[in-house]
């Protein structure tokens, strides 16, 4: 299956087609703790620092329950950190930043069921840009076309399959034209083939729009395949134990890249590292 061009984007000019200008995303010693059931503090994140260049694709891997989602939500401004700060460009993140969009793990729940697919996508930008009805609809159609769902605008999210719902969520996220797209295990609950499709889709869109992408996943293959760099998160209290550059050539191909010796070597190295950490690092 050739690859990157499964979802051929419509060549459009103007706002819907142009790549977004990028800023540097700086995560500076973020820590996050919660109140435990016994009143004591549970430290989910110990200290995490990341420096993400504009337009870079960064993956964060770690075992389940190690605080990956928490970290991402702190970066997204959906949660306040207990210590440290996040900076996007010149601005500190103290709430939901305007140019950052979070792609939810529970994508089917993140699509609003009382709205059609089209309305869901328009929800991402309608309040910000005062577009006319026609302009808004056209923009919406462009983004749906990018994910291959141009004809599904009038459907309801619950009428679509899981993979299609995730594509709507992606279209919606991109319709907001973010500088940074944060993805929280977005492909973990679709079947393997759909996942490969979505990988290609994300890479394609990312190649086009050049937003900064931060992906959180437990799937090492996915991380290596998609990203420029892979950061490894430990168990809680979570810290970054290693950051590896994938240095794999782009564009990447679903099958060939995954079979390349470089890929396999990286995979071997990462898995070994993670499994070893699992043995001696796991608490509870």
């Amino acid at each position: 299956m050739s690859v990157v061009t499964n979802f051929r984007p419509r060549k459009t000019g103007g706002a819907a087609g142009a790549p977004v200008a990028g800023s540097r995303l700086l995560v500076d010693q973020i820590g996050k703790s919660f109140l435990g059931p016994d009143g004591g503090a549970i430290s989910a994140i110990g200290s995490v620092s990341l420096d993400v260049a504009p337009g870079e694709f960064l993956a964060i891997v770690g075992p389940s329950g190690c605080g990956k989602s928490t970290l991402l939500q702190v970066i997204a401004g959906l949660m306040m950190p207990s210590s440290g700060k996040v900076r996007l460009g010149e601005q500190d993140v103290t709430g939901e930043p305007a140019h950052m969009v979070y792609l939810f793990q529970q994508y089917s729940k993140s699509l609003l069921p009382w709205m059609t697919v089209a309305n869901n996508v328009m929800f991402a930008f309608n309040h910000r840009l005062k577009l006319s009805n026609a302009a808004a609809k056209s923009r919406c159609r462009d983004y749906l076309a990018m994910v291959g769902l141009a004809d599904f605008g009038n459907h309801y999210p619950w009428q679509l399959s899981g993979g299609m719902q995730q594509r709507v969520a992606i279209a919606r996220a991109l319709a907001a034209e973010p500088q940074v797209l944060l993805m929280d295990e977005p492909f973990s609950s679709v079947d393997a083939l759909t996942r490969l499709d979505l990988h290609s889709l994300i890479l394609d869109l990312w190649g086009q729009k050049r937003f900064t992408a931060v992906l959180v996943t437990h799937d090492v293959d996915e991380a290596i395949f998609l990203a420029d760099r892979v950061a490894v998160l430990t168990h809680r209290p979570a810290t970054i134990s290693e950051v590896i550059e994938t240095k794999l050539p782009r564009p990447r191909h679903s099958i060939e890249t995954r079979e390349s010796p470089e890929f396999l070597a990286l995979r071997h190295r990462l898995l070994k590292y993670l499994l070893a950490r699992n043995q001696d690092g796991a608490h509870a």
Partner: protein, 278 residues
Amino acid sequence: MTQAVWDPGARSLPRLRVSRWRDTRATGVLLVLALLALWEASARFGIVQSTNWPPFSTVMVTLVAGLGDGELMPLILSTLWRMARAYAIGCALGVTVGFAIALSRPMRQLLLPTIELLRPIPIPAIIPPLIFLLGLGDALRIFAVAFACFFPVVLNTFAGVRSVEPVYHQVARTFGVPRMTALRRVVFPASLPFILAGLRTSLGIAFVVTIIAEMIVGNEGLGNYLVTMQFAMKTSEMYAGIILLTAIAYLLNRLFIVWEAHAIRWARLAEAMGGEPR
């Protein structure tokens, strides 16, 4: 408790027909018809004292006649109009206050105790004292009905807004949707199932309390009609009124359910197809 349709050990033929017959409400319908026949017979043959016990057929004739000759329709409209105004007021207030206490902790601390304090008051009890303040007319009756309607709506709205999926809130936030827009386009639709459930309960309450109010004060509406007919010993008319009230109550509920199903069809279907898709 399922009956085996076919008992392989039995010597007789499969009791297919009998089982299916049992599974319909046929027996129940027969029971109702039998009771109606009993009513008719006992009245016609004087088994029960005849003045208070007109035959069912006579009651139905009276009912149809009353509807036809314009005696009952104005009463129906009078009651329904009274109820509608009170229902609208009670529900509007209920939804507004429900949102207020759900979204603001100080509001909740301020208002919820008072609401919980006023809720157990038996609604007929507030009517006599308020006669002094509101007179014997619609103002009093509408106030009483609106008062009764308020509580199911406010509590259901409160519960509904609070039970909105956190993900929905986060979606609004990550796209930078301003608060008012988020309330209108996310929180309100998301809590609609609960709100509508409260509105449906309130509808039934509104109808009952309207009847009660009409029975206790004033001389308008179907409630008053019932009491008047009882007083005048016009039993056919009285029973006709009871049947009429039952029919109206049933219709109101049915219509609401149909409308509700349409208004939140996304909720039913989303649930049916929903959860995490595989």
